[in-house]
Amino acid sequence: MNYILEARDLRKEYPNKLALQGLNLQIEPGEVFCLLGQNGAGKSTTINLFLGFIAPTSGAAFVNGMEVAANPLKIKEHLAYIPENVMLYPHLTGLENLALFSSLAGFKYKEAELLDYLHHAGLPAEAVRRRVGTYSKGMRQKVGIAIAVAKHAKVLLLDEPTSGLDPKASNEFSQLLTQLSAEGTAVLMATHDIFRAKEVGTRVGIMREGELVDVRPTAALNAQELEQLYLTYMHN
């Protein structure tokens, strides 16, 4: 089986903390894998290891079959990333930021295409030519989504992506994820939002103290059962 994302005994240790202990994870194309866990459980560390932002202490992360550590640039052609708090160049407009990040990813879009991406991400038309410095967190998040979508990546790495989005925008984002998943994009999403995970995820993994303690298909649980399972792990 060709996994689009794979972690093999992935371990990350800091001088005073074991952030991730022996993570084994495989994600297939089109799958939406939601990582649940408290702060410091290792969700963001996992995403950072896939992005190559930090080096593993042992083990390896693979993107599209390529080891991250050996191909730090190549793997990023296949990844799009939306952090919890999307920060952009404040003196550029939303449109200019999208043009810059798309160009860096190797895409040269016409203005109409860029406007289309921003529109589909839910950014109001009146905001696209305004400086990002005037944007709310939610508006920046939408530009971040547009940047990720415009990259046409095989994998989306999302770290609390709906944080700061209003319920309507969150719902639209969920629909977008479902659509991308249907098109074959794999998604690894770190989230605290159990209901959103149940809604869009194909599998959920529960992390505690750097360990992936449980993985379940979302179809096998309803939202209450998932919440109960999550709370059980957290209280134990």
Partner: protein
């Protein structure tokens, strides 16, 4: 390269948006233009001053012709006649004034003892001397590093602190390319300014377009590159913008202020130089004692040095000029060792600083620019030696009149030797400085790149 140029072009947009930096660059441009104006004005003032000296000399001769209408005793003429040893600046001096403000650029000479005349200078405002020259070299050596610091202290840290770096490095972009594009843009801004000011300065000062143009530009470029290398090292440490700013300002303070001051103290301790005032006092005492010494004793000491005048008549009079000038000269000889020690001491200090200036590229750049402009200490010492030789020539001219008792006629004024000295660049010093700066640049960039390799850029 596509990514490099893309980031480079966006750096221009970021730069335009940072109004403070644009203002700072404009301010430095104006400061540089003022530096050029200051230097060229100061040199013009000195040149104007030097052009009036022949006229002063001519008027002095006219006055003497009135005072002594017929053939006169050459002793009287030598006593009253004033002439000048002049140190003409090179055109480059306007860009790097060096020591031309503290050392005399002309020496007023009479046939009297040389040493006290050699060190007699016009009164200058000590506060002005203390504040130093505000020439283009000052702007390049002392102020440009501050601009480089202002442009580079947050090279990556601002994007890290603003959270943009995570999104940036999540793209297929090498952190090395990000750093190099940012550095290259800042380098282009700084070198653009430095070169623009240099070219304006060269045109304004009307320097000859010879190899020194390239050397000046090379020195400025390498000096700026050195500071960018320092900024690269600090960037590679991946600390906060505040830490970077404080550290870079600390390095500036260390290399531009502290090391030069400590070097100055160390060099002064290593090569103590007799005080000029001691030399002058000793010479005056020797000359004044000449009045009380038996004339035979004075003349025998003089004839031992100048046996060609031994057969001249024995002095029986209470006063004769040849005796007067003999003890004036003996006064110079009495302090010859101190005078040589003073000049040698200054030269040794300079040589030691030249050896140690690798410790501070600021000193190295400043002394190299001064050497290029012919405004450094060795040039001044050459001028002093030239003035001394001129005084020797004056004595050689007057002695036959004095010892053979030949009358001095009006026609003899025109036969009197004249003096001129024009600064020459110390090209070897400037080129050595260029080599040292190249070495400094290599060291800081190698250290910065090694640090970057050892500590991959963390976007968080």
């Amino acid at each position: 390269m596509r990514i490099f140029w893309l980031l480079f072009s966006y750096e221009w947009r970021h730069f335009r948006a940072a109004k403070g930096l644009v203002l700072l660059c404009a301010l430095l441009l104006l400061t540089g233009l003022y530096g050029i104006y200051y230097g060229t004005t100061e040199m013009e003032r000195q040149r104007q001053h030097l052009t009036t000296l022949p006229e002063l000399s001519r008027r002095n001769v006219e006055e003497l012709k009135v005072k002594f209408p017929g053939p006169a005793d050459a002793g009287d003429i030598g006593y009253y006649h004033t002439t000048y040893a002049v140190h003409h600046p090179d055109a480059w001096a306007a860009l790097s004034l060096g020591q031309r403000d503290i050392n005399p650029y002309y020496v007023k000479l009479r046939l009297l003892g040389l040493q006290n005349q050699l060190y007699a200078t016009d009164n200058t405002n000590p506060m002005k001397v203390l504040s130093g020259n505000f020439d283009l070299a000052f702007v390049l050596v002392y102020l440009f590093p501050l601009l480089i610091i202002a442009l580079s202290f947050n090279l990556l840290s601002s994007e890290r602190e603003e959270g943009i770096l995570t999104l940036l490095l999540a793209q297929p972009v090498s952190p090395g390319v990000v750093v190099s594009a940012k550095l290259a843009f800042r380098l282009a801004v700084v070198l653009g300014l430095a070169w623009l000011l240099s070219v304006v300065g060269m045109l304004w000062a009307q320097v000859p377009l010879d190899g020194r143009v390239g050397t000046w530009l090379g020195l400025s470029t390498l000096y700026c590159l050195f500071w960018f290398g320092v900024a690269l090292i600090i960037t590679a440490l991946q600390r906060t913008s505040a830490f970077n700013a404080v550290t870079l300002l600390g390095v500036w303070l260390l290399l531009v202020v502290l090391v030069p001051s400590l070097l100055n103290l160390g060099v002064a301790a290593a090569h103590p130089v007799p005080q000029g005032i001691e030399l002058t006092i000793k010479q005056r005492e020797e000359i004044h004692a000449g009045w009380d010494r038996p004339k035979t004793q004075t003349m025998n000491r003089f004839f031992a040095l100048y046996p060609q005048w031994r057969d001249t008549a024995t002095i029986r009079e209470r006063f004769v000029w040849r005796w007067y000038y003999a003890f004036q000269h003996l006064g110079d000889l009495a302090v010859a060792k101190q005078a040589a020690a003073y000049a040698n001491g200054l030269q040794q200090r300079y040589d030691l600083v030249e050896k140690l200036n690798l410790l501070s590229p600021a000193i190295n750049a400043q002394s190299s620019l001064n050497a290029l402009a012919g405004t450094d200490l060795p040039t001044h010492l050459k001028f002093q030696r030239s003035a001394t030789a001129y005084h020797d020539a004056l004595r050689a001219f007057y002695y036959p009149f004095l010892f053979r008792k030949v009358e001095f006629t009006h026609n003899d004024y025109a036969r009197e030797p004249t003096h001129t000295f024009t600064s020459q660049p110390e090209l070897s010093t400037a080129l050595r400085g260029l080599g040292k700066l190249l070495l400094s640049v290599g060291v800081v960039f190698a250290a910065g790149l090694l640090l970057l390799r050892a500590r991959p850029i963390n976007p968080r």
